[in-house]
Amino acid sequence: MLDGREYRITVIGAGPAGAAAAISAAAMSMEVDWYDKENRPGGKLNDYHQLFPDRATADQILADFDGRTDAIEIKKHFGTAVNRIETDNRQLILLSDNKIVGSADAVIVATGFDFFDARLKEEFGYGIYDHVITSPDLEKILKTNPEDLRKEGADPVSIAFVHCVGSRDQQAGINYCSRLCCITGIRQAIGIKELFPSCKVVNFYIDIRAFGSGYEELYREAQEKYKIQFIRGRVSEASENQQHRILLKAEDTLMARPLKLTVDWLVLLVGMVPSCTQVQIDNHQCTDQETGFYQPVNVFTGSRIAGLPGIFMAGACGGPMSIPEAIASGRSAAMEAWQYLKDR
């Protein structure tokens, strides 16, 4: 039995990673303070419709977390954005807008990520053309009112998804792969096909990175069962015609020929970037120079943030991560924090 009764731990962030970390720390009897800048837990899960690979609803996962965090002793401080941590001897001092809000023996940072600002990829016209939307926009539409996808009562005739928007792109200043956009695009494409079976759905991809358990199977299902078309080539330009339909130019690289297609909606599968609400830790440079995500002391063996005692990271604040991965990393951070406090 892991006994953390003497330890005071703070978890910053109430998304899946933060929730898992808080639940695990509390299960080890640690005294847990749990912060989030929003007034409710769940983070981006609140805006998600379905999850891959089994397409469970986000609400199911949220309900599960709520049940477990309510059943266990966790002090919740929602609506408070901890944006700075200072080290004071062996104590970690938590500040929100330069005001001290608490202290802890260890902190787990689980501040998550932001979606790439698609306006920066100007050639797609996001923010200019109303029918160019991002994957999180589509997720909200699917969750709240899929009828919005109809135009004047008619089913959409064609919808395209563009992979790697704000991923693997020097022009956007982002060279890494966000990993999850591929499977998001596949899952959302299936969602569209279920709503509008006669709609032509095309995914423009460079490489399909279906890395997770069940992902490749979902990809195949999208092709075989739902007849979603996958074209290997990145969309180079989107523009709008008088009917407010979106014209796309891409290369079908497997044919080595340029291609054009008109769609009712263009969905940009945006990548994951470091959260703008990252916590500043002393004046320490604790993020990766290249990507901006937090860096662990050792990518294989530790989730402690490099160069700092007692501060651990969980979830997508350390780089693009799926929800199961974020949950696992939250648990693991709690475990490592316990180990650290025991040994110090």
């Binding site: 095309v202 399909i208 195949r220 092709q223 075989e224 007849k227 996958f230 290997r232 079908d252 497997l254 044919m255 020929r257 340029p258 291609l259 054009k260 297609l261 008109t262």
Partner: protein
């Protein structure tokens, strides 16, 4: 007079694939009889292992992919290339998605009879 002058150069249509105006009747017909066809990931295993491909430049992946895109199959010496398929079925053995490529080839031959003068025995 207008519209007929020659100014010393020719102009031809472009080669951009127009997915808006593609006639996909052949692709639709084929997808109905060979449902697994849509699971193709264009890995090229079929073309790599194809004995006809080694000798006469026949590329099965490109061929069926072209049909899928509803491109004009009668160009590119398509019929003569298709007749070089030996129906040996090696492609089917290597397909990672288990697509019945030999059967697909037969179906293509049958549905495009009008393109080819010589149809190999099925």
């Amino acid at each position: 007079m207008a519209g007929k002058k020659n100014f010393g150069f020719e102009r031809h249509a472009g080669r951009q694939i127009d997915l808006d105006h593609a006639d996909n009747s052949l692709a639709t017909e084929l997808a109905e009889v060979v449902s697994a066809w849509s699971a193709c990931i264009s890995c090229g295993s079929c073309a790599a292992t194809c004995p006809a491909g080694q000798n006469v430049g026949f590329n099965f992946r490109r061929l069926h992919y072209k049909i899928k895109l509803s491109l004009e199959v009668e160009t590119d010496n398509y019929p003569s290339l298709l007749t070089s398929c030996l129906l040996c079925g090696k492609c089917q053995l290597v397909c990672p998605r288990g697509i019945p490529t030999r059967y697909l080839s037969i179906q293509i031959m049958q549905k495009t009879k009008h393109y080819a003068e010589v149809i190999p025995p099925v």
